[in-house]
Symmetry: C2
């Protein structure tokens, strides 16, 4: 080996990897996954799952239910990744609450909505699976203990042509993650190793995935520019997976290197709605064993995020189920609306970026009144005010003065919007006809947030088939022993995922991976 | 090895690869590149270049000029890939003909134009290199024997804010490829193996690229659904590259599998402007040894292609330097214009796709008069008429009848466009002010083509730095011994490459790879 070619990363690999390996040092460490014949397995399972989000837990729960021994590895100290900080909104086409309230939905309608947001590049065969089986995933999550607010009319999320979104009882993804974690931890055949970092796949001589390299006692360090490349903590272990591995490592919205390669407009220090562990490392390893990279540059910027808090926070819910919905968003420089506040995320983020490019501090302002919030979201209103993400004003004059918006134009924008609601026609195409005349209440008080896009969901990833098997670029067939589900996969959402379809995608394909492995 | 895991492709690899390998059969063939210790080299060079397009030949010529022994491998029987069938248009910012004609250009202007077409996701550091060194690449191509039409005002291509495009004397890329091929074949240290297919990289134990696996006497077969996966012809060879390998294998517009994974809207049987060998195989191999996949889903559809001929043909030049420029394009269903015919390619292709989705046979029609063609393109007019790609009519009535366009609306569209030209303002934002009143001549005769998008250029690929070194996802540093240039790289053009910037990108970064290897 040439000494000059060794970087810090190389040293890490060659050094730290040594423990569990027989002849690894002489092998092709940079580019190739280790081979079964070169490793000594520390532990053995039927199935190994990488990641404890919706997809990983659903895969593990289903696989364990089917009698398999399952190890789930989670690099963070906390279970659930982004799923635990998600808003708990779950689009379920053809769900019972739609039927109860006379809302006509169909698989075709769901697929058409997804294709519209996805700019037509979605992989339709994956959408078909979701449309058909989201209801099963919903029931499976309830079987695992998740609870939903049921009985009311489903929520209507941006880009969906009908209300089809169910929400957990506590309005967070933790409402699914917590019971599912308890569920899998109670199963005698299933366990979770926290602070255990996936490093690489182990292959047999035929190219089948038969295990993973990992490090236990891993301490994720969000202060590193790239935890994946720089973190040397932990002790090397090699785990055998007799039936296969499910990659459910999530997206890369927090990966400063990979997200910027796809969209150089994202500043290194940009906040994200994601948890700090949302990095590309595991997905890139899958590419290196031959997984097809699909549509990797579509990064969804949550258009409803708040620049006045870190991470996901409360802004997204206050906006999505409140101010963006029955209220309006204006350009602070002229007091005018500039988008359909319920358009798909890309359309909205692009509209915001246009403003922020011209004036980096001119965060668009959302506003509405108490009746503007969905009933379910009312408990969050006080939280929003307490954290400063939302502010409350007695009059539009006060609001305009504080937010530095031309007041006459602002009043005109509100009046024009209200007129449109009454007529059932909105100048930006917002579906106001369904509002039953529910307007911004001119008596006030007025609620308002500042908005800014934050990287939220990465649409691209590895290519899977309808059985959640990862497809190899070397054969255009499944990589034996490798499954994937959730945000690490690409194609399902095309150019832009519709709101509340992450839970749908992750739980459905996680469950399917668990069924097929 | 598990027998059931062996597909036809696997059999191919395990069988055909055997010849040059010592212990390959027991190694990790599916996912990993072979190791130096496991192969026996048949031949040895300083530099190996994969591909004989603009990028490959420029890299080889420059590397050989610097005293290196160079082998260029080309899988096809013909030299030049897409470059040989390219239109020979070469955007050179700050070129002498701009200066001669008082056209102010700058690096900043070129970068701004590229970013606008690229939707802001271009890798600016690569654009900066092109802006600064395109002129060197232009001079280098002349040193290698390429000849250009010089002295006139440069051509003005869609999306460029100024005329900056120089064109070869024979108006084809062959005008560069032919002399460059002769140039490198005359160099005592440089040779080209035709019908030699790159199969994989060979790495040393430190991860450095030290050679390639290839097959000689390869017979590319365009009848196969995937030549990369199904073609078993040829005899295995292993070539050593002491200083490194330059990947210049081009894009994947003809790859039915990979282009469809990125844009499922492209039908399997869709024609392309590219030669049949434009497949993803070599690029995917680079991903497997760790190259970062960048922006792989942006596929540019040439909006000026013709459904009345195969491949690139003559339509693109007749339209780009003729009917799209000083003429107009109309929707045959209503006789109306629907786009700025000089907008960026994505905008135009999207506008056409919208029509073709509604009515798959309603190919938009371009039209103009003899004065509508650039002087340089006049020799092609007869060719267009002879092949049936273009038709000639005495009157607009004849044209409308034959093309099945509502005649009154068509006449109104032409009149309205001509008025706009006279006023210097176009309803679709076409830069008609620069036309000096040059209108569609109502006296006729009228020339017309049908238009349709064809996959033309794949923007994504491997990540390179400003020295054309391929960056590894494992280290975020160069993969030792691996360079890349041209369409196989990603990031430079962002979401959409500007017309006539392919030659620029390929020759500039090819030359730079040759300088740095």
């Amino acid at each position: 080996m040439k000494k000059e070619a060794l970087s810090r990363r190389d040293a890490l690999k060659f050094g730290a990897l040594g423990a569990g390996l027989a002849v690894f040092g002489a092998s092709n460490a940079f580019a190739a996954a280790p081979l079964e014949k070169d490793v000594k397995f520390d532990e053995e399972y039927d199935v190994i799952v990488i990641g404890t989000g919706f997809a990983g837990l659903a895969a593990a729960a289903k696989a364990a239910q089917r009698g398999n021994t399952v190890l789930i590895v989670e690099k963070m100290g906390r279970i659930g990744g982004n799923s635990a900080i998600n808003g708990g909104a779950f689009a379920v086409p053809n769900n019972p609450d739609q039927k109860k309230h006379g809302i006509e939905d169909s698989a075709e309608r769901f697929i058409a909505d997804s294709l519209k947001a996805g700019l037509g590049i979605n992989h339709v065969e994956l959408l078909e699976v979701i449309a058909a089986r989201a209801i099963d995933a919903f029931e499976f999550s309830r079987e695992c203990g998740a609870e939903y607010k049921l009985g009311d009319k489903p929520s209507w999320f941006g880009g969906h042509s009908v209300p089809r979104t169910l929400v957990t009882s506590d309005m967070t993804g933790a409402g699914i993650i917590k019971p599912m974690t308890e569920f899998v931890e109670k199963l005698p055949r299933c366990k979770i190793y926290r602070r255990t970092k996936f490093d690489d796949f182990v292959l047999d001589a035929g190219g089948r995935v038969v295990g993973i390299m990992a490090r236990t006692n891993y301490r994720f360090d969000s202060k590193l520019f790239s935890d994946d490349l720089e973190n040397t903590t932990g002790e090397k272990k090699v785990y055998k997976a007799k039936k296969g591995v499910v990659l459910a490592s999530g997206g890369f919205s927090a990966d400063r290197i990979y997200r910027k390669l796809q969209n150089p407009q994202i500043p290194d220090n940009s906040d994200t709605t994601n948890h700090a562990g949302a990095t590309a490392g595991a997905m890139l390893k899958a590419f290196q064993i031959g997984a097809f990279p699909v549509q990797v540059d579509w990064i969804q910027e949550g258009p409803w995020a708040s620049p006045d808090e870190r991470g996901f926070g409360v802004g997204p819910q206050l906006n999505q189920q409140g101010l963006f919905k029955y209220g309006i968003v204006v350009d602070v420089r002229n007091g005018k609306r500039f988008m359909n506040e319920l358009a798909d995320r890309k359309t909205r983020a692009d509209a915001q970026y246009k403003i922020l490019k011209e004036a980096p501090e001119a965060f668009p302002v959302a506003l509405g009144t108490y009746n503007t919030f969905d009933k379910q979201i009312l408990p969050l209103v006080e939280k929003g005010l307490a954290t400063g993400v939302m502010k409350k004003y007695n009059t539009l004059d006060e609001l305009a003065a504080d937010r530095k918006i031309p007041v006459a134009a602002l009043k005109e924008s509100v009046a024009k919007f209200n007129e449109g609601v009454k007529k059932g026609v909105d100048e930006f195409g917002k579906p106001v006809a369904s509002f039953n005349g529910e307007c911004i209440d001119m008596k006030g008080p007025f609620y308002s947030t500042r908005t800014a896009p934050k990287p939220h969901h990465t649409m691209g990833g590895v290519k899977i088939n309808t059985k959640a098997q990862v497809i190899s670029a070397l054969t255009n067939k499944p990589i034996p022993g490798l499954f994937a589900a959730g945000e690490v996969t690409g194609g399902t959402h095309g150019a832009s995922r519709l709101g509340s379809c992450a839970v749908t995608d992750c739980l459905t394909f996680g469950m399917i991976a668990g069924e097929n492995i």
